[in-house]
Symmetry: C2
Subunit: 205 residues, 2 copies
């Protein structure tokens, strides 16, 4: 069989195809890089219309990463998808507390999601500068509640939960916080989308 | 804020919405469960048309899991997305060799993808009964080559790489092997889709 075996060549060809099919869009160069990486990850061109960027989001995100800021993710899947070798070279790590024993217990006791309890734990950690939420609407709702109550604000919230119950609403309310955000409108999103956005930021540094 | 906080209720409501919006389809009950879980994971109803099932795929997959068969995944993301607690209760584990030192070295030396080398390692392992490939077309191409050369056949191949170079072709050639398969036609798919299919099978046991 004849097929392309070199990873770098596969990625280069993929981005050529995406650029061609995406056509002329009104994105600046950095935004375009994020959008294309999300399409690369999903093969879904709808994301060009679904992604919404706070005007400062990409710059503040890149600055936070350059300073070695940590990233909190709502699932192990997002964590797995992030290029941790490159993140680590910048001095940052990825945290996720959903499987922590104290979080599991407290979620069960209070009969709420583990995501919510984990966010409460994360927001107290001052090294966490970016929240990348790919699955749990409740994580975004909790983030909104805590910031409204005066908890310290992160530098960037990536809010892209996928889903049918609460996902779209959770992303809209994040826009009302005075915190730079990157979201997907509507139901679509997910772990791979959250990881792709983070990786696009990392690769721009 | 008022929002649904109970995980079980969120999932139940989500599946109700999916069932309603999907409408009447010509799927049997088990196929329907797989399709709906993929839609639940992606919020993308296109998967109802993109998923393609070998007639024996679900049954052989369930049987392999019941017997404690292991699953090989092409990425850590697929591995992260699989419900390992329930899989472990059945006696199975999830393996991924892409980050193994020997695999990384050999891929660099031969200038081919790590996925390909990892598949060569996996196919020699007789406990691996299911391959769940969510990203690397080259993993599927390698699987096809090795099985053509007489290597032992797994019980099920889940072939759902996402992408623009080789992904669609890699899924089509898997259908020519005499091995039950679940694939997505065209470019779409990914880690979350592969994990959702495995989880749907696990939850039916």
């Amino acid at each position: 069989m004849s097929y392309v075996k070199k990873p770098a060549l596969i990625e280069e060809k993929s981005f050529e195809i995406i650029t061609k099919e995406l056509g002329v869009r009104n994105f600046d160069e950095k935004t375009s890089k994020v959008v294309k990486r999300v399409i690369h990850t999903t093969a879904d061109f709808e994301y060009a219309d679904l992604l919404e960027f706070h005007p400062l989001a990409i710059e503040t995100g890149i600055e936070a990463l350059k300073k070695g800021g940590d990233i909190y993710t709502d699932t192990q899947m997002v964590k797995s998808g992030i290029n941790k070798r490159k993140l680590s070279a910048l001095g940052g790590t990825v945290c996720n507390f959903v499987h922590d024993d104290d979080v599991v217990k407290e979620a069960r006791d209070r009969s709420i999601t583990r995501s919510m309890v984990a966010i409460e734990k994360a927001i107290k950690n001052e090294n966490i500068r970016i929240f990348a939420i790919g699955n749990a609407p409740t994580a975004l709702f909790t983030l909104k509640e805590k910031i409204d109550k005066g908890m310290p604000k992160p530098d960037l919230i990536i809010g892209v939960p996928v889903g049918f119950v609460g996902a779209a609403e959770s992303k809209e309310i994040i826009k009302s916080l005075d915190v730079p955000y990157i979201i997907t409108k509507g139901r679509k999103g997910g772990s791979t989308v959250a990881a792709a956005i983070i990786n696009a930021l990392i690769y721009m540094i």
